[in-house]
């Protein structure tokens, strides 16, 4: 083996040693971190959020809950049969015999900003996994030009769904339309049209002045 091969071997061994050292350090850190954490019983250190309802033993299956409740006390509602109502938004994504829907139960469920609703914060809702057949009941999905159908689903809530890679979702077994959606009319704002025309006239004048200024500079 020549000098070059020998130095290559040393370099490779050096790199391997560094990598091994790194992984040992990381494994040590992980064992310390998870060891400390495991000294306490799992699932008990994130407390209940008292601002939102929590289920009790006598809470009936199919009780109606909102999206914030499910997110804020997700672990407590996990696996329970709940009813959930919201505006269908976006689109229905069919996957074989099943489909994904998104139902929003936010301030814009009845009337969205494009229809003149007052501002009421972010959107909020839940993903629903439902049979494609049931999903086809929905005619309108909420977007800029539509207020979507309001649907009510009943099904099992999953804080971290095993079937869907840990997604938070509701596996619905029933779906009913509470209120059909509709197209949203947008009247053209003529006043803003006038402002636009005025701005472009000023811009044209400035362009002319600019050309004169550039010529003078040259």
């Amino acid at each position: 083996m020549g000098n070059h091969g020998y130095s290559m071997m040393i370099r490779i061994h050096g790199a391997t040693a560094r990598m091994t050292g790194f992984f040992i350090a990381v494994a040590l850190l992980l064992s310390i971190l998870s060891g400390t954490a495991r000294s306490q019983p799992p699932g008990h250190r994130i407390g209940v959020n008292p601002a939102y309802p929590v289920p009790a033993g006598e809470t009936p299956a199919g009780i109606e809950v909102n999206s914030s409740t499910l997110v804020e006390n997700a672990n407590l509602w996990n696996g329970r049969i709940v009813a959930f109502k919201g505006e269908a938004i976006g689109e229905c994504m069919v996957r074989g015999k099943m489909a994904w829907l998104h139902l929003n139960d936010d301030a814009y469920m009845e009337r969205n900003i494009e229809e003149g609703a007052v501002l009421g914060g972010y959107n909020g809702g839940h993903a629903v996994w439902v049979s494609a057949e049931l999903a086809q009941k929905i005619r309108f999905f909420g977007d800029f030009k539509h207020e979507g159908d309001i649907a009510r689903v009943t099904g099992a809530f999953n804080a971290a769904c095993r079937e869907h890679g840990g997604d938070m979702d509701i596996h619905a077994s029933s779906l009913e339309i509470i209120r059909p959606g509709h197209p949203v009319r947008h009247a053209v704002n003529m006043q803003r049209g006038m402002i636009t025309a005025l701005l472009f006239v000023i811009a044209a004048l400035l362009y002319g002045i600019r050309r004169i200024a550039v010529r003078r500079r040259i």
Binding site: L33, E91, M93, A107, Y108, L119, Y122, G166
Partner: protein, 500 residues
């Protein structure tokens, strides 16, 4: 003695700021065309107003500030920071006119978040906005990622020697080609080719997942723009959870990890030097820190038994941590899930990832891998010096495109920038805690804003106090421009007030 800037200094600054703002106005042609295509007449008028305002400002500056002077270093830095500020104020016009914002400040917050590729937003009822406005949000983040100065250099600057100074002012200093304007065009060439390939991949995936041709196509382009620029905006309020697909998540991850790498690295690989991938200090640094952050997050999630199986745990953990580390801000969990399920340890893992951030001269933010690598090498060098004989000459080398000897000036510069980042992270955290937010939550969102990431655990909302919105806007701005331009602008203001 502080010298007061002269009229000729202002003329040159305003002239070039005007050019950049005209560029911003021209960018609005894309969402305008989108709005017209989909028959969204009011949004189209809103974009015309925005274009008109930008043209009036830009042409007004050009008409009144003609000068033969070229830019010097301080002018370049001030033009970069001032342009970003004016571009935010004027770029917010279509946002504000849409009626989806509580105040003009909220609209400016979103535009600054877009330009800086942060991805936080205060827009309300996102699920009902027009295609035109959604296009504008994503164009902002795509253009901001490459740099609005880079756009102006590409299309509007002709053969000025001062161009490089404005380019540096925007937080970039790599020269891929001898000429800075050619460099700017090369950045755009690379980005546009990736845009076509990445959007096609996402479109095909979207169709397979049940999206329609038009919606799937629009989503693909928007998600690519947000991912490649490490922006994190998405067309639906569910962010990338909306797609419920491992395949879609993997394509997104490839796009945002690719986008977070240094343009110089991309260029080296494009021009045939593939070995740069394994030698580059930023790649080594990224590999180590992302592993550490993932391990911390995993430990936290394991301890709380959040996910039902290892696959689900790894999928969720990898996506959020990689998104945080590349300062993208895409998410497949609800914001409040960080607090209500992930818990403090996993949140700190993501916070660490966001704080370190992506590569220098990329679309990402944070300390940057190159600085972490340099500081770590300097630390090792000092330890080696301590244990070596006094007569020993201990040197260290680092590799980024070329191999260089580590010198004190390089370490000092890296440390200064890292300390500045720590400063803004601390500022945002203190303000958050002052307003009653939990420390871990305030830290999470402050680091996210300062590192231009965009993940949120629920602190950022339209109802948060106005001073917090202002601090976060400052964090996004200063973090994206890497401080020097912002300091230069502040220096200019001080010189104006106190100079002689």
């Amino acid at each position: 003695m502080i010298i007061r800037p002269r009229l000729s200094d202002f003329k040159v600054i305003c002239l070039y700021t005007g050019k950049v703002i005209i560029g911003v106005g021209l960018l609005m042609l894309i969402p305008l065309a989108t709005a017209l295509c989909f028959g969204e007449w009011n949004p189209a008028i809103e974009f015309l107003i925005g274009i008109g305002a930008c043209l009036v400002f830009g042409l007004g500056m050009e008409a009144s500030c003609q000068t033969r002077r070229d830019l010097n270093w301080s002018h370049g830095l001030v033009v970069a920071s001032f342009s970003w500020f004016v571009a935010t104020a004027l770029g917010a016009i279509p946002h504000w006119l849409s009626g989806h914002f509580g105040s003009y400040l909220d609209a400016m917050f979103d535009v600054m978040s877009g330009y800086t590729t942060t991805g936080m937003f205060l827009l309300q009822d996102l699920d009902h906005i027009s295609h035109g406005l959604n296009m504008w949000r994503h164009i902002l983040t795509y253009a901001g990622g490459q740099g609005i100065i880079v756009i102006a250099l590409t299309f509007l600057f002709r053969g000025t020697a001062g161009a490089y100074k404005v380019y540096v002012g925007e937080g970039k200093d790599e020269r891929l080609l001898p000429n800075v304007i050619q460099t700017a065009r090369a950045i755009w060439l690379v980005s546009l080719i990736y845009l076509i390939v990445g959007s096609l991949a996402l479109w095909i995936a979207g169709l397979w997942l049940g999206q329609g041709y038009v919606r799937g196509g629009l989503h693909a382009v928007w998600i690519f723009m947000a991912g490649w620029s490490t922006g994190g905006f998405a067309p639906q309020s569910y962010n990338t959870l909306y797609y419920h697909s491992l395949v879609y998540e993997m394509i997104c991850a490839i796009i945002f990890i690719g986008g977070s790498f240094n343009f110089a690295l991309h260029w080296a690989v494009w021009t045939g030097d593939k070995s740069e991938i394994r030698k580059n200090i930023e790649m080594i640094s990224f590999f180590i820190t992302v592993t550490l952050a993932m391990l911390i997050a995993t430990a936290g999630l394991m301890a709380l038994d959040v996910y039902p199986d290892t696959m689900a745990l790894f999928r969720k953990m990898f996506y959020q941590v990689a998104s945080g580390h590349t300062t993208t801000g895409f998410s497949t969990i609800y914001s409040r899930t960080f607090v209500r399920q992930w818990g403090p340890l996993a949140m700190l893992g993501v916070t660490l990832a966001m704080a370190i951030g992506a590569s220098a001269c990329s679309t990402g933010g944070g300390f940057k891998g190159i600085r972490m690598g340099i500081i770590f090498k300097a630390l090792l060098q000092d330890v080696r010096r301590m244990i070596s004989p006094e007569s020993a000459w201990v040197t260290a080398k680092w590799h980024h495109i070329t191999t260089r000897v580590l010198d004190d000036q390089t370490v000092r510069t890296a440390m200064l920038i890292v300390l500045s980042y720590i400063g803004i992270y601390t500022l945002g955290t203190l303000v958050g805690v002052y307003y009653g937010y939990d420390l871990v939550e305030a830290l999470f969102d402050s680091v996210s804003a300062g590192s231009n990431t965009g993940l949120s655990c629920g602190v950022v909302s339209p109802s948060m106090p106005v001073p917090m919105k202002i601090v976060y806007i400052f964090e996004m701005w200063a973090g994206r421009l890497e401080f020097m331009s912002v300091f230069a602008l502040m220096g200019y203001i001080v010189a104006l007030l106190r100079g002689k």
